[in-house]
Amino acid sequence: MKISVTVNGQTHESDVEPRTLLVQYVREDLGLTGTNIGCDTSSCGACSLHLDGEAVKSCTVLAVQADGSQVTTIEGLATDGKMHPMQEAFMQNHGLQCGFCTPGMVMAAIGLLNENPNPTEDEVRIGLEGNLCRCTGYHNIVQSILACAKGGK
C-alpha cells in the first residue's frame, strides 16, 4: 500500500505491506535506526517516537496507520548540530548508561514535558511508567528531565 509519511520534516512516499510496523518502517525502510526495538510487546518503550506530536510505541502502530502523519524520531531532535535540550540534560545529568533505552526515554520525556511543563518528581516517575531502563535505576533519568524542565526548555 502506498503511504506518505513526513519523518523529521522530510516527506517520504513509500509502498509498504499493511503489516509493516511503524518501527520497522523507520528503521528498515528509512534507515533511521536510532529508534530501538526492545520488548516488541508495547511494554518497554524503547521504540517510542512522536506521531503527530505525541509519544507512541511504534512497535504497536502499523506504518499504514501513520499515513499522512508527522513523525519525529530521535534523529530529528538536534538542530544545526546542536542537541535538543532534553538530550543535553541527559548528557549533563548522566541519564544513561548502556544507552539502549535512551532514544525512547528522551522521546517519552519530551512528550511528558509537552503535556506537563513543570512536573513534580513523582509526576516524572509516573509519566515514565511506559519506559524501562535496566541500568540506571531511573534516578538520573528523572533528574535529567527535572533539570530540562527547570531550564524552561
Binding site: M1, E17, P18, R19, T20, L21, Q24, D40, T41, S42, S43, G45, S48, L51, E54, A55, V56, K57, C59, T60, V61, L62, V64, Q65, A108, G111, L112, E115, I126, G127, E129, G130, N131
Partner: protein, 274 residues
C-alpha cells in the same frame, strides 16, 4: 514480531466500515487504536485476513453531556477520557480508571471502544463501565441497538457484539457526587491488574466490579445487596468474590486473587464511603 499477512481497508464512515466487515465476514476485524488487537496479531494469537481501519472516523471521537449520562464516542482515546473536564466532573471514577490503562504512550493510541469491544476481563475499562451501569450503543448492517454492560460480556474475549456490528458509543450514567474508588493491584508499573476494583457508593446505591477475577469482568452484586441491607463495609467486602471465578496463572493463584478481591473491595468501599 510481525503479524501474518492481511488485507487493509480504510473506512471513511461507520456505514462503510460495517459494510466492509459484512462483505468480508468473520475473518475481518475492526482496527481502532490497535493496542489490544495488534499485540495479539504480532504474537499470532489472532490472524484476521482483513483489517478494517476505523481509526480515522473522527466523528466517533467525542465526549458530550447528554443530561442523565455522559456519551463517549467509541474512538475516544484513553488520554482524552482521562483528561476530559466533563468526565472528571460527572464520572470521575471513569476518568481515574482511564488514567490507569497501560502507560502514556498506550493512552495516546488506545480507545475506550476498542478496549470494551476487546472484552478482556483483565482490562480496566470493561469492569469500570460495568460498575457504573453503562450502556453500549452498537451499529450493524440491520441498524442500531443498545446493550447494557451487564449483558455484554459473554466469555473470555467474547462479547454480545455480532461480527457485523461496531461499538459506536458508551453511555455512562452521571455519578451525581457519589463516592468512588479505583484500586489496581499489579507488580509492575503499566501492567494489567492482577486484581482490580472499580467501586462507587452514594445516592442510595452502590456498584462494585472486579478486574481479572474470571473470564469476564465481574459485577460483585452480593456486595451491593449486602450494603443495601445495612451490612458494614468490612462484612460486605467479604462477599467480594461471590460472583467471581478467578484463574490461577503466573502472577497469582485463584486463592490469592480471591483474597486480594476482598481486601481491595474493602479498601475501595472505605474510600468511596468517605
Amino acid at each position: 514480531m510481525i503479524p501474518s499477512l492481511f488485507d487493509y481497508k480504510r473506512a471513511s464512515s461507520a456505514a462503510e466500515a460495517i459494510s466492509l466487515v459484512t462483505e468480508y465476514g468473520e475473518d475481518a476485524k475492526f482496527l481502532a487504536g490497535g493496542h489490544s488487537l495488534l499485540p495479539l496479531m504480532k504474537l499470532r494469537l489472532a490472524a484476521p485476513s482483513v483489517l478494517v481501519d476505523i481509526g480515522r472516523l473522527k466523528d466517533l471521537s467525542y465526549i458530550t453531556d447528554a443530561g442523565s449520562y455522559i456519551a463517549i464516542g467509541a474512538l475516544t482515546r484513553h488520554m482524552d477520557v482521562e483528561t476530559s473536564s466533563i468526565v472528571k466532573q460527572h464520572v470521575p471514577l471513569l476518568a481515574c480508571a482511564a488514567g490507569h490503562v497501560g502507560d502514556p504512550q498506550v493512552r495516546h493510541r488506545g480507545t475506550i471502544g476498542g478496549s470494551i469491544a476487546h472484552a478482556d476481563s483483565a482490562s480496566d475499562l470493561p469492569a469500570t463501565t460495568l460498575a457504573l451501569g453503562a450502556t453500549y450503543v452498537v451499529q450493524g448492517a440491520s441498524g442500531t441497538r443498545e446493550i447494557a454492560a451487564t449483558d455484554f460480556y459473554k466469555g473470555f474475549l467474547e462479547s454480545a457484539l455480532r461480527p457485523d456490528e461496531m461499538l459506536t458509543e458508551i453511555r455512562v450514567p452521571k455519578m451525581n457526587g457519589a463516592g468512588w474508588s479505583f484500586q489496581k493491584f499489579n507488580r509492575r508499573a503499566q501492567d494489567w491488574a492482577i486484581v482490580g476494583v472499580a467501586a462507587w457508593r452514594g445516592n442510595g446505591g452502590s456498584g462494585v466490579a472486579l478486574v481479572n477475577m474470571g473470564s469476564t469482568p465481574v459485577l460483585a452484586t452480593d456486595v451491593a445487596i449486602a450494603l443495601a441491607s445495612g451490612a458494614s463495609v468490612a462484612d460486605a467486602a467479604e462477599l467480594a468474590a461471590a460472583q467471581a471465578d478467578p484463574q490461577s496463572d503466573l502472577n497469582a493463584s485463584a486463592e490469592y486473587r480471591t483474597h486480594l478481591a476482598k481486601v481491595l473491595v474493602r479498601r475501595a468501599l472505605e474510600e468511596a464511603s468517605k
